[in-house]
């Protein structure tokens, strides 16, 4: 087990290295001079050269990369051109928001998804199954931004119950617990929850159907248990898989979502990235992509190892 984890970790190192190179090269691949965003267009050649050496852009690429990665490893991703604040600070604040959104969305998705999937599995083939499966299918296939906008139109514009955008009262800074803040979370969390809901519902449906087809459920009936008591056994059998699927979904959502965060102006990493793209804030762009990419590499590693633990057959391949 430990060996398998270490082996997977070794595989990850070259991937992480490649990702860092791509992030670094962004600055040079992106059309236009990286300095164009900082300097006025009529800046003198002298000033340009000065800035170029200030940012180290006059040195060989390999040296630039070495310096950049060295600083990045020490948590220094530079300074945002737009706000002047440190990039790592911006990313840290945005990550907290993305994590809050991801947890809320996963909890909603898991609760609804388990419920629908359980009903569908128990009443497999019947009307309840078709209804529940239909809802979860819809959850996976409906476009996010569309659902988000519909929710905004209904609940913010028409009913005026919930705010349409933002991370909290008085801008995105500072978090507290309380309805004043949770109000802002409701719509984006519901929008984000439909994907894990659909996936969890489908997983649990087939899981429950499979458990119910096993001999032991008939043996439970044979000793006189009532349906309610048998279903308790079914739930306990389904729980480990259901929870690990939930963990996976949480892992994927933690990275944030550009679409949803942009629709609701939710100040997470996706929103940060979107802003950086439009303001050509290269340090923020570079830093956010690097952190998110590393995060996904990590999530995939954890997923692999966790699945290897659940199913020993995976390890052999």
């Amino acid at each position: 087990m430990l060996l398998y984890g270490l082996k997977r970790l070794l595989h990850v190192i070259p991937v992480a290295f490649g990702v860092s190179i791509v992030c670094f090269m962004l600055i040079h691949i992106a059309p236009g001079d990286p300095l164009a965003a900082i300097l006025p267009s009529d800046a003198s050649a002298e000033l340009q050269a000065q800035m170029r050496s200030f940012y180290g852009l006059d040195r060989p690429l390999i040296v630039q990369y070495g310096l950049w990665i060295w600083r990045a490893l020490h948590g220094d991703l530079g300074v945002s051109i737009a706000t002047g604040r440190s990039v790592s600070g911006e990313i840290a604040a945005a990550s907290v928001n993305s994590i809050i959104l991801a947890i809320a969305a996963t909890l909603i998705g898991f609760t609804l998804g388990s419920f629908l999937g359980f009903l569908a599995g128990v009443f497999r083939g019947g009307l309840v199954d078709r209804l529940a499966s239909g809802i979860s299918m819809l959850g996976v296939s409906v476009p996010h931004y569309w659902l988000g906008m519909v929710l905004v139109i209904v609940f913010s514009v028409h009913l005026g119950w919930l705010p349409a955008m933002g991370g909290g009262p008085g801008g995105s800074d500072g978090r507290a617990v309380g309805w004043d803040y949770i109000r802002y979370l409701v719509l984006p969390a519901i929008t984000m929850s439909v994907i894990p809901m659909g996936i969890i519902a489908r997983t649990i449906r087939s899981l429950v159907a499979d458990i119910l087809s096993q001999d032991f459920t008939q043996a439970l009936a044979a000793k006189g248990l009532m349906t309610r008591q048998i279903l308790r056994h079914v739930i306990r059998n389904a729980a480990p898989t259901a929870i690990s699927v939930m963990g996976l979904q949480l892992g994927y959502l933690l990275g944030g979502s550009i679409l949803i965060e942009t629709v609701f102006s939710w100040p997470g990493t996706g929103f940060l990235l979107n802003g950086a793209i439009f303001t050509r804030d290269l340090p923020v762009l570079q830093g956010t992509i690097l952190v998110l990419a590393m995060f996904f590499v990590l999530v995939n590693l954890i997923v692999d190892v966790v699945q290897g633990t659940i199913d020993p057959r995976i390890q052999r391949s």
């Binding site: 001999d215 043996a219 000793k223 006189g224 248990l225 008591q229 056994h233």
Partner: protein
Amino acid sequence: MMNPMIEIDNLSVTFNRGRKPVQAVNGVSLSVKTGEVVALLGESGSGKSVTMRSLLRLHPKGTTITGRMQVAGHDVTALSARQIADFRGAVASMVFQEPRLALDPVYTLGDQITEAIMRHEKLGRNEAFERALALFEKVRIPSPERRLKTYPHEMSGGMLQRAMIAMALACNPRVLLADEPTTALDATVQIQILLLIRELQAEYGLSVIFVTHDIGVAAEVADRIAVMYAGRIVEEGAVADIIRNPQHPYTQGLLGARVELAGHRDRLVTIPGAPPDLADMPKGCAFAPRCVRVMEACGQAVPPLTGTKGAGQVACLHYA
């Protein structure tokens, strides 16, 4: 005369799930006296398990059951959902073929047994656990206290089947339905389990239906044997009569297969051919396509069970 403990009268079971209805049981009648062991013998797919599950009404929804089943004075087909649940495990209980599949993998054995006890009797958890411990001792599971706290995957097949038997007997049922309880086990373990069931049956005066496809096992465990083919009972009688003087060509074939095996030939001689499609049963005797004594009349009508010279019954035109 006392009423029999189990009385099955003209039972038919049809599954309606697939494209064509499957007639798994076609008019089975069987009675078992108090304290009697009857072996239900037949090839795989002949409807033995379906007959057993009917006695506890364990079939999926939409299954058609006709005929009458009387068990310890209960009219099984007439019981309400609540009543049949009270009946299962308390009046009649079942031991399954694969103990590893018939036990819940995520509950300890102790929890599974105490759950059954507390379902039927007003006992606290501790008292139920004490009862479970006594049962484990009764079925001779070594270090019973520790074994009660283990999960099914931590025990061997033989030990699990002992636990299954303990669970089946937990609420002092009158009837034990054992569906091939030794088939999944090693030969030496098989014999131990057979002996255990016989011993407990005698001690508690249980009425037992013991399903098997092995005529040797049937002879070992039973007082009477009922031979099943394609959802019907084709011969029935005392063990000694069936073994020494089988009447039905199918029973003769089963015994023949056994004799060849005992004679250390390198080939197990089974009856050539396969049982009929239960979704498309022939009009006459279901065994006709494989029967060595087939006659023209065999294809016309199903031969009825009729009394033989001994105390048994046989369903074959040669004896009609």
